[in-house]
């Protein structure tokens, strides 16, 4: 139990830290919503190292804390919807035996963006941002792939350590 609590703490802290690092890195593209999703490394890793339920808790804690710290209250709703949708999608892919961590990460990236767009539509009251969906899907695939690779190497390392 104590070990698990420590794991929760470490993963949550890492995820929040990643959120900060990401807030500091400027994005060279003028399209809102494009980002790397560094903290998804932690959530994806957590899914494999700790389990799916634990990853969900980490994801929620991360979103609430980092949104309040770095993005403000409206940002919270964007992130929260993105986190829920991407978690659901990642869970579905995680269940598939034939998909690796990279597939999970790519799905997560894409659905995070879609979730944010949906909330943006609700908040703005107009569907003017819907046309961003294809662009954000491609960026989500690219970012998710990169994040997936990083997670894969991290996972290999962690599993080696465990033995």
């Amino acid at each position: 139990m104590a070990k698990k609590t420590a794991y929760y703490g470490i993963f949550a802290a890492l995820a929040i830290l990643m959120g900060y690092v990401e807030a500091v890195i400027p994005m060279p593209v003028p399209i809102p919503g494009i980002k790397i999703g560094l903290s998804n490394i932690v959530v994806v890793l957590c899914m494999y190292v700790m389990g799916t339920k634990e990853a969900f808790y980490i994801s929620i804690v991360r979103v609430v804390i980092s949104a309040l710290l770095f993005r403000g209250f409206v940002g919270l709703w964007y992130s929260l919807s993105g986190a829920f949708l991407s978690y659901g999608a990642m869970l579905a892919v995680h269940r598939l035996k034939d998909a690796s961590i990279i597939g999970v990460s790519v799905t997560g990236g894409v659905f995070h963006n879609i979730g944010q767009i949906i909330v943006a539509c609700i908040i703005l009251g107009r569907n003017v941002v819907l046309y961003l969906i294809p662009i954000l899907m491609v960026s989500g695939v690219a970012a998710g792939f990169a994040i997936g690779l990083v997670s894969k190497y991290c996972l290999n390392y962690l599993e080696k350590k465990r033995e």
């Binding site: 690796s100 597939g103 790519v106 046309y131 695939v141």
Partner: protein, 121 residues
């Protein structure tokens, strides 16, 4: 990297491409609108591409507005200061004509880019 990963990536990219080229998410090309508020509530909107003249009933008086050549202006008003009448015609995003005595605000929505850098709200 397993086979299913490639399939997932391919499916997502195809979906994105399909959505992009099908064009059904593309925003409609709406022209600029002039939105008229009286006492903070929207009462009417005018399409700036159609020339019209109209009378806005504000609090304690009326303003005659005119839409011409994609611009909106106030031609006359029975207010005491005539600030709105002296205001130049507006057509760009975030520009506004205000008639304080009648609590009338005319704002441009969906208009062209402003030539100034930014507006502090």
């Amino acid at each position: 990297m397993k086979k299913l990963d490639f399939i997932i990536i391919a499916v997502l990219l195809v979906c994105a491409g399909g959505l992009y080229f099908s064009g059904f998410l593309r925003p409609g090309d709406e022209g600029a609108y002039a939105v008229v508020y009286v006492d903070g509530e929207e009462v009417k909107r005018y399409d700036l591409s159609q020339n019209t003249e109209d009378t806005i009933t504000g609090i304690n008086g009326t303003n005659q507005i005119k839409v011409q050549d994609g611009e909106i202006s106030v031609v006359s008003a029975d207010c005491r200061d005539q600030v709105c009448v002296n205001h130049l015609p507006i057509n760009r995003e975030n520009e506004s004509i205000v008639c304080l005595p009648h609590k009338v605000v005319i704002e441009i929505e969906n208009g062209g880019k402003n030539s100034i850098d930014a507006v502090v709200k």
